[in-house]
């Protein structure tokens, strides 16, 4: 049986791995190589690293660090941040990543998703969608360009149609909040897509993962809980297994 994945999702900033809170403040997690090594030793299902310097500050993608991180990972590694050209994907994969996460370029130009998935396969292309609740409405949000006037469900469906392999769905409001996943957000997309949804933002306790999966998330991304609480990815999985949810132990 296919297992639900628990995926640490961390950010890269100033040569450190960090965890952001609502995309605004950052807490340092640690050195990229040693953190990746620990995740590998803890046998995590996958790892996502988003390069903030590249995505927000427009700096070159830091292939040196990506390659150092990849050298520690014998599980799938996804790298995102600052991808604007097909060459960037080549660069990131050559540094040792297995998949890429794209956000701004996908919003601007859906054909990029098509082009990328034709070359690398759709399994390689994760489209990341950031969502912010404004006046009780879910709005697509972009770190560089702010609130987008595009319908969330249509956008996710469009990404799928253009060849996205997975959707990384982040609640900006919940990110780093430890308040639990935004279950209404998961409900909104439930049954709308045939590709997997990785929900991100808000895990504060292992039971939050149970609720997110019961509401329809295929995989769970988190970071805060692993670094600033006593819970390990295994604790989350044990909680899920106790509720008869398939996980890899």
């Amino acid at each position: 049986m296919l297992k639900h994945r628990i995926i640490p999702c961390v950010q890269l900033k100033d040569w450190q791995l960090v965890k952001s809170i609502g995309f605004e403040t950052f807490r340092t997690i640690g050195h990229p190589t040693s953190t990746a090594r620990i995740y590998n030793a803890r046998n995590v299902d996958e790892l996502i690293v988003l390069d903030i310097d590249a995505s927000i500050n427009g700096e070159e993608i830091n292939t040196e660090i990506i390659s150092d991180i990849a050298d520690e990972c014998y599980m799938p590694l996804t790298i995102g941040g600052g991808i604007t050209r097909i060459e960037d994907i080549y660069t990131i994969l050559n540094a040792g990543a297995d998949k890429v996460a794209i956000n701004t370029i996908a919003l601007k130009n859906c054909d990029f998703i098509k082009e990328a998935s034709d070359i690398f396969g759709s399994q390689c292309i994760i489209c990341s969608i950031d969502v912010k609740k404004i006046n009780n409405e879910y709005k697509v949000f972009n770190k560089q360009h702010g609130v987008q006037e595009v319908d969330l469900i249509s956008l996710a469906k469009k990404y799928e149609a253009y060849g996205a392999g997975e959707i990384l769905l982040t609640s900006v409001d919940r990110e780093g909040s430890q308040k639990g996943y935004d279950l209404d957000l998961i409900d909104m997309l439930k049954g709308e897509l045939t590709i997997p949804i990785i929900i991100n933002g808000g895990m504060g306790k292992p039971y939050d993962a149970v609720e997110a999966i019961e509401h329809g998330a295929d995989a769970i991304a988190a970071a805060y809980i692993f670094h600033f609480s006593r819970n390990t990815p295994d604790d989350i999985k044990k909680e899920l297994a106790s509720k008869n949810i398939a996980v890899r132990l």
Binding site: L2, Y74, M75, L77, I195, P196
Partner: protein, 200 residues
């Protein structure tokens, strides 16, 4: 064709030098052949064709019987043909076709691609599974599967139905999952492949 570096890294981890190459002489001189790959079937065959590698691979694997390891798309490519975006002829080493998952007839419509960790049921005493527990989880990511017509199945995995997750025929070993991304169990398979005697 996707990430070669992670495959190379896994070989390094088990103490074996693996060379990434599309050079005919390097491939001819190799003691073992690995064909990894993610991406589309048609692109994979087009690349092999344009690089003039099809005959070289036939000679190394079929004629000279060098141990061969196919991973993911590398497993699919050794079939007769694939129906990914039209019909494309494969290397044809195994009587099999590559078809897309279709769950329309199931009550629960499963997601495609099949991505993530899934357990694998071993069918026979595949030497590459030495030291690996039956039903171990491996990392999969694919939308098409290998539909074989020969008795070469070495493991199956359930996703809506039992599909072929690995095959073994003589010197040919191939896996739909990614051993290089499957932590200890996957590295063990690679280590076992490295330890195989090479007659080539």
């Amino acid at each position: 064709m996707g990430n070669l570096r992670s495959v190379q890294k896994a070989f390094e981890k088990v103490g074996c030098e693996a060379i990434i190459s599309n050079d005919i002489d390097v491939i001819k001189a190799a003691s073992k052949i690995v064909l990894p790959g993610v991406g589309s079937f048609a692109d994979g065959m087009k690349n092999l064709n344009e690089l003039g590698l099809i005959d070289i691979l036939d000679e190394a694997v079929i004629k000279n019987k060098k141990p061969f390891l196919g991973v993911c798309l590398g497993m699919q490519l050794i079939s007769k043909k694939s129906y990914e975006n039209g019909e494309t002829k494969g290397l044809g080493w195994i009587d099999a076709e590559v078809v897309k998952f279709d769950f329309n007839s199931l009550e629960k419509n499963l997601k495609i691609p099949h991505v993530g960790w899934n357990n694998t049921h071993f069918k026979n005493d595949n030497v590459l599974f030495n030291g690996v527990s039956d039903e171990s989880d491996f990392y999969f990511v694919h939308s098409y599967y290998f539909k074989g017509y020969e008795d070469v199945v070495s493991s199956t995995t359930n996703y809506g139905f039992d599909f072929v997750s690995s095959i073994h025929k003589n010197n040919i070993f191939a896996f739909q999952f990614h051993p290089e991304k499957s932590q200890a169990a996957g590295l063990k398979i690679i280590e076992n492949f490295v330890k195989l005697k090479s007659d080539g």
